[in-house]
């Protein structure tokens, strides 16, 4: 589920960046003809893999939303800086710490926004979201236009999709850093789906307590993270 979404996102990011900036960089490196072919296939890949990404974020939402509701534990975790600025400090955390919950909600909200504007670009004239969105926003004092022609809808969708894409790429780069080299044991957790019990007690002690109170006999040297 994580990798369905992550792999899709990487392909979407690379093909999307190529559509935005490729023409300024690649033709002088690989030639105009190769760039044209690459971009043509890249656009098809972008349009088709988008569906895998949409499915991934839907699955992730329903699987993990109950573990990502903010609570007081998260406030204390954030006030301790996640232990990142103090040696040997591991503030208490449940299955997902506050940093992970922030990433979850950014991916869900950002991914949904990208998906909505992307669908509007895949089906122009048929899916138009900005007029309705502006009507709702105008109730809070803004003065956005609410009568939009199809071409204006598409222009807004294109602009928003590009902006959100770049924002999500920046967020995901930070997520990839922390999930791989920035945090010891993090990649093993997402790669194998399991963590060492002592690692879990150190970084997610409240989750281990919950699991132990549910079933004493279920605690084994390696517990599945899912």
């Amino acid at each position: 589920m994580h990798w369905l979404t992550a792999s899709s996102f990487i392909i979407l990011a690379l093909t999307g960046l190529n559509m935005l900036y490729g023409k300024y960089v690649l033709p002088s490196i690989i030639g105009k003809s190769a760039f044209a072919s690459l971009t043509m296939f890249g656009k098809f890949a972008h349009d088709w893999i988008a569906w895998a990404f949409i499915l991934g974020i839907i699955l992730m939402f329903f699987s993990w939303v109950r573990h990502n509701i903010p609570n007081m534990v998260d406030i204390r975790w954030l006030l301790a800086g996640g232990g990142m600025f103090s040696k040997g400090v591991h503030p208490p955390a449940k299955r997902f710490n506050a940093g992970q919950k922030i990433i979850f909600w950014l991916v869900i909200v950002g991914g949904a926004s990208l998906s909505g504007s992307g669908l509007a670009l895949l089906f122009p004239f048929e899916i138009e979201m900005f007029a309705g969105t502006f009507k709702v926003m105008n109730q809070f004092g803004t003065n956005f236009p609410t009568e939009l022609s199809p071409i204006q809808e598409t222009q807004y969708a294109l602009m928003w999709h590009g902006i959100m894409g770049l924002v999500m790429i920046a967020i995901v780069i930070a997520h990839i850093y922390i999930g791989s080299v920035g945090m010891e044991g993090a990649f093993d957790a997402v790669g194998t789906g399991q963590v060492d019990i002592n690692w879990a007690k150190e970084h997610h002690n409240l989750w281990v307590q919950d699991m132990e109170s549910m079933d004493e006999s279920a605690v084994a040297p390696n517990r599945p993270t899912d």
Partner: protein, 44 residues
Amino acid sequence: MGERWRSMWMGTIAAVVIAIVAGVVMTEMNNSSAEKFSTSSTRL
């Protein structure tokens, strides 16, 4: 080492399979040439 990457490959393959299915569906949705270039068609 293989175990760490297994789920990554499974997810990636699932994404590619879904993309191919989506591509086939979206391509089949295309109209005939006459319909595609008709002014009544809004598909790009």
